[in-house]
């Protein structure tokens, strides 16, 4: 059996899903990197505070404390700059992810609608076939009725077939049967 040929809507859906997965991965990675930077900045700030605390506790000299604090604050400042740069990147990545999500949602909807229309076409054809088969069976049944009963009991199909209430509602009032 040959592989089915994808419609443009399905091709668009596959591309949109792929793009969404790619953007989701990039977003996760960017958020993870940014979180690491934030953690490192907090650690640097904590180290700066610890230097002062250690000096107050008398475990290190003022010079050592000043050096450690300055070094830690410098690290924190460098990390702040990186975090700021990362925030702009993060915003761009998030925006791309949101766009990919919206695009994928649209593609899913388009593909679903296309499939519904195909199913409608298939069912319409099937209903016509079923009706033709039904009428054909009724015709044959009627022929046998006449053959077996002659004219006794009249020549109406009512003798051997009474449509259900649902069928009557459908034919007479165009009311759909309950699902």
């Amino acid at each position: 059996m040959n592989a089915p040929i994808p419609t443009p809507a399905l091709q668009a859906l596959a591309a949109a899903r792929s793009r969404l997965a790619e953007c989701a991965e990039r977003s996760t990675s960017a958020h993870s990197a940014q979180t690491k930077l934030l953690v490192r900045k907090s650690e640097s700030e904590a180290a700066a505070a610890l230097a002062i605390a250690d000096h107050k506790a008398g475990s290190i000299s003022e010079e050592v404390a000043a050096l450690r604090r300055a070094s830690s604050l410098q690290d924190a400042a460098d990390l702040s700059a990186l975090i700021q740069q990362g925030a702009a990147h993060l915003s761009k990545v998030d925006q791309e992810f949101a766009q990919a999500q919206a695009h994928a949602t649209g593609a899913e909807r388009d593909a679903a609608r296309e499939e519904d229309l195909i199913a409608v076409s298939v069912l319409d054809q099937q209903i016509k076939t079923l009706e033709a088969n039904f009428l054909s069976a009724m015709s044959e049944r009627y022929r046998l009725h006449i053959k077996t009963n002659g004219n006794r009991g009249g020549q109406s199909t009512f003798n051997f077939y009474q449509p259900t209430q649902a069928m009557q509602e459908l034919i007479k009032r165009n009311q759909p049967p309950a699902a």
Binding site: P4, T7, L10, Q11, L13, A14, E115, A137
Partner: protein, 113 residues
């Protein structure tokens, strides 16, 4: 050349370049040799040889850069092609799943006559 080979070759080249002295470094050394010869007043033959060596290194650098660019381009194209193939395959899978669902609808209401 297959896509995978292109990618592998690009990776190998990058590793090789990272581990070996660069051509730019070799050019630097050749220039240094030439300058030394000129400053120390060595024979013109030696200076000419050093100049030729420098020219050769520069040519090699140009060729290597061109090859690297070509390889990178091929690798990028291969990756893009792999991605396009994967999406096309996904689309075929989606079409197959849809055909199956439509077929089930059709079978559910199919008359036996």
């Amino acid at each position: 050349m297959t896509k995978q080979t292109n990618i592998k070759r690009g990776q190998q080249e990058a590793e090789t370049m990272a581990n070996e002295p660069t051509l730019a470094h070799k050019i630097g050394q050749a220039k240094l040799r030439l300058n030394t010869l000129l400053l120390t007043g060595e024979s013109t033959t030696a200076a000419r040889a050093a100049l030729k060596s420098l020219t050769d290194e520069q040519k090699a650098l140009g060729a290597a850069a061109a090859e690297q660019a070509a390889n990178q381009h091929a690798a990028r194209q291969s990756l893009a092609q792999i991605e396009a193939d994967r999406i096309a395959n996904d689309a075929v899978q989606l079409a197959a799943a849809r055909a199956n669902r439509i077929s089930m609808i059709s079978q559910r209401y199919a008359g036996s006559i």
